[in-house]
Amino acid sequence: MNVEQRLKEAYTRTSPPELAGAGAYDRFLRRRARSVRTVAAVAVLVLALAGLAPRLLAGQERGVVRPPQPVPPRPVPAAPALVARLNADGPFGRALAFSPDGRTLAVAGRHRISLWNLDRGTRTVLASPEVPFGSDAVAFAPDGRTLAASAGARVVLWDLASRTRRASLPLPTGMVGNLGLLAFSPDGRVLAAANDGGILLIWDVARRAQLAIVPTRISSISDLAFRPNGRIVAVAGHASGGGSYGPGDPVPVDAVTVDVAGRYIRESVRMQAGLESAPAVAFQRDGAAMAAVGDPQQRVAVWNVTRRAPLQTMAGRYPVTGVVLSRDASLLAMASPSGEVTLWDFGRRVLRGPLPGFHPRRAEFSLSPQTAAFTSNGRRLAISDSTGSVFVWATLP
């Protein structure tokens, strides 16, 4: 037996000492909790250094921190401004959704759904008798009176006036996997949900009936959007199949459009993404689907899905760890690994930002359409960081 074989054999026969596995997971949980506390401590320190501490304390009773309005108001303030910082429940980025009027932000929490009134800085909690009621995704109906929330593989409709659960939507039997994305059609009649197995579900909201169940060829859907006419849904995400990828390798991502009847996939593009970046998708006002993703060459690639053609490429200084598109595809938010988020304005062709007051843990931050949301008019952007705080900015002066 040569040395190589002896090494291999010794390796396969290695077993850890008997007590090694005992309590390992508990030790892991303790260490993990420590690391969360460290991040929180650093975040607090950074905020304190930024001179936000007094305001933080002052705003605590109401739960919202609001930097004072700049005085005097400049004619054209160029940079986005921080509007609010909210405390969400628990770590991990939380799913967010703005109400159609942009005044209320729904934050899907571990045990509840919080509705933050951004004008008054108050919070309303939607709780369910089924405790704990966590939620993975939320979406407002266009009339602002109904909120759809997913929990695991269920979708519940809440009546916001009475804050009661109105209905559950039917699911195909045996379906598993979290529904991580929800979206209403612009007329509010159709609701679409994507699960983490790449399955797209479509319901008729009024009749509470399933319209379609579409297995897309995407392994995990990261964004979902309706065409303004409400008949077509676009989804984007990492393509299924393929091998394992290291940093710097291009990872295939797909964007496809589906008829709400789920009959066929109409258009699709395949793009190359960086390992950390998930694609975003949105419809332009003319009805063309646009998909964007951070690629391994430190750029953002933007495609017209409908025409299957590249639209434009923006070069960055850092790898882009995530992109989010506003609903009408007029604004794109992109993140760097250090947590710098900048906004690209497609119409004016200007880059705004970085967004002020945002200092997530370095090398841990990635932006995804699941944990960030624009208002329907694109004038506000909310992002939840990995420690559970939610930041809201005014994007356009």
Binding site: P17, A24, Y25, H238
Partner: protein, 177 residues
């Protein structure tokens, strides 16, 4: 989130033993191995929403572990932290398998880099290209390091007569490779 947590717990249970073994051969010490593994898994948890979508999330955790080990400053810290913990046994014999103990002792005498190359290439069965990418070096450097390391191991271990005849027999049986 409950499902996310559960998914990670499953992943943890699946990977813990595998990573611990790799950590042991990289460091030659079960206590340090555990430190490395826990560190790597905490870091993997931080990126879990992204990592869980990968085809082989275990490879991500392994990469983190190897990177952690690579950083010498980090290793010094791990050692210091480990020294403060008394309850961990440092010299646990291998399940009565003597060759492993001999090999582990010989590996410990290699440089950290050579050891990493040998462990990843011959024990984790990674290709030269994968090893080079993991260690952030060139393919040539990996080949050179593994040749030097093997030569050193061979000279240290010294082939016993029995081993010689067996390998000679095998060579005759299989012919030219």
């Amino acid at each position: 989130v409950a499902a996310e947590e559960l998914g990670f717990q499953e992943f943890y249970a699946e990977q813990y033993g595998r990573l611990l073994r790799l950590g042991y051969w990289l460091t030659g010490d079960w206590g340090q191995a555990e430190e490395l593994v826990q560190e790597a898994l905490v870091r993997t948890w931080w990126r879990w929403p992204v990592v869980r979508r990968l085809d082989r999330p275990g490879d991500y955790a392994r990469r983190v572990l190897v990177n952690r080990h690579r950083s010498l400053r980090r290793r010094a810290l791990v050692e210091a932290r480990h020294a403060a913990r008394v309850q961990v046994q440092t010299t646990v014999p291998f399940d009565g398998h003597e060759d492993a103990a001999v090999l582990a002792a010989a590996l410990r005498r290699l440089s950290a880099r050579q050891r990493a190359v040998v462990v990843l290439r011959y024990q984790e069965d990674l290709s030269v290209v994968e090893v080079a990418r993991l260690l952030g070096t060139s393919v040539g450097a990996v080949k050179a390091a593994s040749n030097r390391a093997l030569a050193r191991l061979r000279s240290q271990l010294g082939p016993s007569a029995e081993v010689l005849t067996r390998s000679a027999r095998r060579r005759r049986g299989e012919g030219e490779r």
